[in-house]
């Protein structure tokens, strides 16, 4: 048998192999500019010198949008290239957290459905009238079965035919009539 990698060098942890730049209060300053978050990141070069990378605007993207809302947030530039990863928002001070939370809320803004007022089907489309935290809404789904995404036992995302999303935070909390209207599609 040929020599194995173990003999050559000690086993390295996965996190050592994959270079992930985690951003936190120690290396990154988050600021708000014209309603958008920006970042100033300190980078250590190979020769040991430090440079500062300034991004006037950063884009945030949740890595696990259904499970972890405040953890593992990818920070991207305008070309959707990852600049770094935030392990959790608590790695930043409160002001920065506020800015990041605000930006995430803006990006992931999804009306929460509180009540399904009516749900009618015609010709393969379903027409919804709901009450949500954003007021009364009306939208259309094409192929209702495929347009509902159940996350976990209790949460349902609704995707309309134009790409808008709505969410039913808890099926259990829904009133009986509303639940009966969507039960079949779940």
């Amino acid at each position: 048998m040929k020599e194995t990698s173990q003999e050559k060098e000690p086993v390295r942890k996965l996190s050592d192999v994959a270079e992930i730049r985690y951003l936190h209060r120690g290396n990154t300053e988050i600021f708000l500019k014209n309603g958008f978050p920006g970042a100033r990141i300190q980078c250590r070069q190979e020769d040991g010198s430090e440079t500062v990378e300034e991004h006037n605007r950063i884009w945030l993207h949740r890595a696990f949008p259904f499970d972890l809302l405040k953890e593992y947030i990818s920070v991207q530039n305008k070309d959707q290239e990852e600049i770094g990863l935030i392990r959790e928002l608590a790695d930043f001070d409160e002001d920065a957290q506020g800015i990041l939370c605000g930006a995430l809320e803006h990006k992931y803004y999804t009306p929460k459905i509180a009540k399904i007022v009516s749900l009618k089907e015609a010709h393969g489309y379903s027409f919804w009238q709901v009450e949500s935290d954003a007021g009364k809404l009306q939208f259309t789904l094409q192929d209702t079965f495929r347009s509902l995404l159940r996350v976990g036992e209790d949460k349902v995302f609704v995707f309309d035919n134009y790409g808008n999303r709505y969410v039913i935070e808890s099926l259990k909390a829904l009133d009986r009539r509303s639940l009966r209207r969507i039960e079949l599609y779940l």
Binding site: N34, G35, N56, H106, Y109, P111, G124, A134, L137
Partner: protein, 762 residues
């Protein structure tokens, strides 16, 4: 965008207070969310100097006293909540960015030297806002703009105010008239109208006989033949003859009906399937990327059957059942109106009861269906991925997963069976109540005031005839709406406009030179993200061009634009100086061949696959093409050579082999322009080299565009273009680009080093 005339008066008044009038407003648009992302009525106005957003809530209030809500009596009041004004001069580069659920409108503020967030909007308003941005940017640049041709209102159903689900078709599924769908679909069977008429006539006759039979076998038999003093007393033979002959007649008619139906059913479904498939095939590639192949297949097969059922069985039976019910009821009233009332009185209760029962039953069936879908999906997943399951020894997890789904399905099936077991006897019982009523009251009448026994028996048979079609009536409504969905889906496909269309006066060029030119081309698969951004280049006929770049840089998109799978959003793609949009599909398809990463081989022999685009090619040409593409060597080793069948259950080819067959297919066409999009990615470097050399000889006088990851593939190209973020960032020969020490140099060094480390020297 909204025209000033269409702005609600309340909003208009609020705008007027801020100095915005019909005269000075250049553009107006409606966003349905405000800057905070909350739903509201947010109006944006642009004048020569200002960019204004007025946010508020529109309330529709009935004028005067509350009564019937008529349009003329409604007044729209606008309660203003917010107001933002910007100097137009400081803003530029307006753009719409897509968010997770909705979009934002941003612009570059020259004063602040940064992009500013102007407002949020939902995806419903995205298209309008993109148009608005385009107009505004054009205005900022040139001082004028072309207003879009489509009016905003054209996107909404005038009846219910909903957005049309598909913007290219002004059709609202919620408001569509059922009859118009039926009429349109009816054109399919017009061809067979005589057969259909005969079938209908046969059905009508069968019904008539069905109505007559009870009278002959009960009323007539007991009262006229068996009763003393009857007109035909004692002539039992006559009755038997009558019964036998009506039965024989019914049998004959039924047979004619069945034979005719059996003849035309396959024809109509054949026609329908052809129409559906034809409609699907003519659509542009973008249609397919939006839909799953599986659901399209479903459409072709099930919808055709469903539509056929409606016209040949459902609809005619409905009419016949209606006529039969009316006729039976009428006869019953003529015979004895009091007893008829007794029989009918229970009818509404019966109908209401079965409507409810069926409703619940459909729910149970739907649940069983959805659970079986989940179970089958899981099964397909686990069996398809059996290698992975085994490799990670996850058998027990999969078994558990299956058990869960299977249990859920079993439970749903059990519910259906239980329900069927209890409900159908209940329906029969409900039905028997009316018979018992008729029997009871009729019995007294027979015993008392001279109603004949035969008449009572006839009456009882008619009661059965009356109640029999009730279940049909209840169920038909549901089935018809299912069929309507099928028809609607078909109409949707038939009406869908291919996005890429051949121009009416398209030019057909017999012989192409092979010049390919891009003039400021812009393109994106979705409207908010440009994949190709202002790309211009010119390829001289007969040259070999290499396109290099990162994954997702837009290389393959360039190829897609040349062969016109998509049309450019802006700018022009020219072939031999002619816009591709003006060239006939024939010219494009005959002269340009593409071999892409995803090789698809159709079921059939290797020979069929190679000759797909050139069916008349000789065997010698096929072998030559295969030789050049490096396919010949492996094909000839197969037991069946070129006649080897590819596809399920037959010999399967490896990725590299498939690619070689695809290249042979393209070469055989002898195109003027050959595009190789990662066509040799699955081959080893040696095979690739061999094919390259062969192609080199072949490419004399042909334009070759090579797209590759592996830079060594492209070293000999006359020109190399480096694409980055949708733009051509560098161009030149291999040596020139290396000397330039730019992106290409970086990519090349990286790959070279990687190969060297792996011990591969090129």
């Amino acid at each position: 965008m909204t025209e000033m005339e269409q702005i609600p008066s309340g909003v208009y008044e609020a705008a007027a207070k801020r100095g915005i009038t019909k005269e000075n407003a250049l553009l107006a648009v409606y966003a349905d969310r405000n800057r905070e992302g909350v739903n509201c009525d947010n109006w944006i106005f642009v004048t020569k100097d200002t960019f204004t957003m007025i946010g508020g809530i529109q309330r529709i209030i009935p004028k005067g006293h509350a009564g019937r809500l008529e349009r003329s009596r409604l007044e729209v009041k606008f309660g203003q909540l917010s107001f933002d004004e910007y100097t137009l001069e400081t803003l530029k580069d307006f753009r719409v960015e897509q968010q997770i659920s909705g979009c934002i409108l941003t612009a570059f503020d020259t004063g602040k030297e940064a992009y500013v967030l102007l407002t949020h909007l939902s995806c419903y308003k995205m298209e309008e806002m993109i148009q608005f941005c385009a107009c505004l940017n054009e205005y900022k640049e040139k001082g004028t703009f072309d207003p879009p041709k489509e009016r905003e209102n054209d996107r909404y159903c005038p009846k219910c105010g909903r957005l049309y689900p598909d913007r290219s078709r002004k059709l609202c599924p919620a408001c569509m008239n059922r009859m118009s769908v039926v009429r349109r679909m009816g054109t399919f069977i017009v061809k067979y109208k005589w057969q259909v008429i005969v079938i209908l006539a046969a059905m009508a006759l069968t019904t008539l006989l069905g109505v007559l039979t009870p009278y002959i076998s009960s009323g007539f038999f007991f009262d006229e033949v068996l009763t003393e003093g009857g007109n035909f007393y004692g002539q039992v033979g006559l009755v038997i003859f009558l019964i036998v002959s009506t039965r024989l007649l019914a049998l004959l008619i039924n047979m004619i009906n069945e034979v005719l139906t059996a003849r035309i059913v396959p024809k109509i479904t054949y026609d329908l399937k052809n129409v559906i498939f034809h409609s699907i095939e003519r659509l542009s590639i973008s249609f397919f990327s939006k839909r799953q192949t599986g659901s399209l297949m479903n459409q072709v097969f099930w919808d055709a059957d469903s539509i056929y059922w409606f016209f040949v069985e459902g609809f005619p039976y409905l009419i016949i059942n209606i006529i039969q019910t009316i006729a039976v009821a009428a006869i019953m009233f003529i015979i004895d109106w009091q007893l008829a009332l007794v029989a009918l009185v229970f009818c509404p209760v019966f109908i209401v009861a079965i409507v409810q029962l069926y409703k619940h039953m459909r729910k149970l069936y739907a649940r069983r269906y959805s659970r079986s879908r989940r179970m089958n999906g899981m099964l397909a997943d686990a069996l398809g991925g059996v290698r992975v399951v085994k490799a990670f020894s996850k058998e027990s997890t999969e078994i558990h997963r299956f058990e869960q789904r299977n249990a859920a399905f079993a439970q749903a099936s059990q519910n259906v069976s239980l329900y069927n077991g209890t409900v159908f006897p209940l329906v029969t019982f409900l039905f028997s109540i009316s018979s018992i009523l008729v029997l009871g009251i009729g019995g007294w009448r027979v015993a008392g005031d001279g109603m004949t026994y035969g008449l009572l028996l006839t009456f009882l048979s008619y009661t059965t005839l009356l109640y029999n079609p009730m279940s049909f009536f209840v169920d038909i409504n549901y089935r018809i709406s299912e069929n309507m969905n099928a028809m609607f889906r078909l109409m949707e496909i038939m009406d869908a406009e291919p996005e890429v269309r051949e121009a009416e006066d398209a030019v057909t060029l017999a012989q192409l030179q092979g010049r390919v030119t891009f003039e400021n081309v812009e393109f994106g698969y979705d409207k908010t993200r440009k994949i190709i951004d202002d790309v211009s280049f010119d390829i001289t006929p007969g040259k070999k061009i290499g396109i290099v770049g990162h994954t997702g840089a837009g290389k393959s998109t360039i190829a897609n634009l040349i062969i016109r799978l998509y049309d450019a959003d802006r700018g022009r793609v020219l072939i031999d100086g002619v816009d591709v949009r003006c060239l006939s599909f024939e010219t494009l398809r005959k002269n340009i061949a593409i071999v892409s990463q995803e090789t698809y081989l159709f079921q059939g022999t290797i020979l069929d696959n190679i000759r797909y685009a050139a069916p008349n090619a000789t065997m010698e040409e096929v072998i030559a093409a295969s030789k050049a593409s490096g396919a010949h060597d492996f094909i000839i080793k197969l037991p069946d050579g070129y006649s080897t069948k590819i596809g399920w259950g037959h010999k399967d080819l490896s990725g590299g082999e498939r690619q070689r067959v695809s290249i042979a297919r393209a070469i055989l066409m002898a195109p003027k322009i050959l595009i190789m999009d990662e066509a040799t990615s699955a081959m080893d470097t040696k095979t690739e080299r061999l094919i390259q050399t062969a192609l080199e000889k072949l490419s004399q006088g042909r334009t070759t565009i090579m797209i590759a990851h592996r830079l060594s593939t492209l070293r000999d190209a006359d020109t190399l273009m480096v694409i980055e973020n949708g733009k051509v960032s560098e161009a030149g020969t291999h040596t020139e680009l290396l000397e330039k020490e730019g992106i290409y140099h970086k990519l090349y060094t990286l790959q070279y080093e990687a190969l060297k480390n792996a011990g591969i020297q090129e």
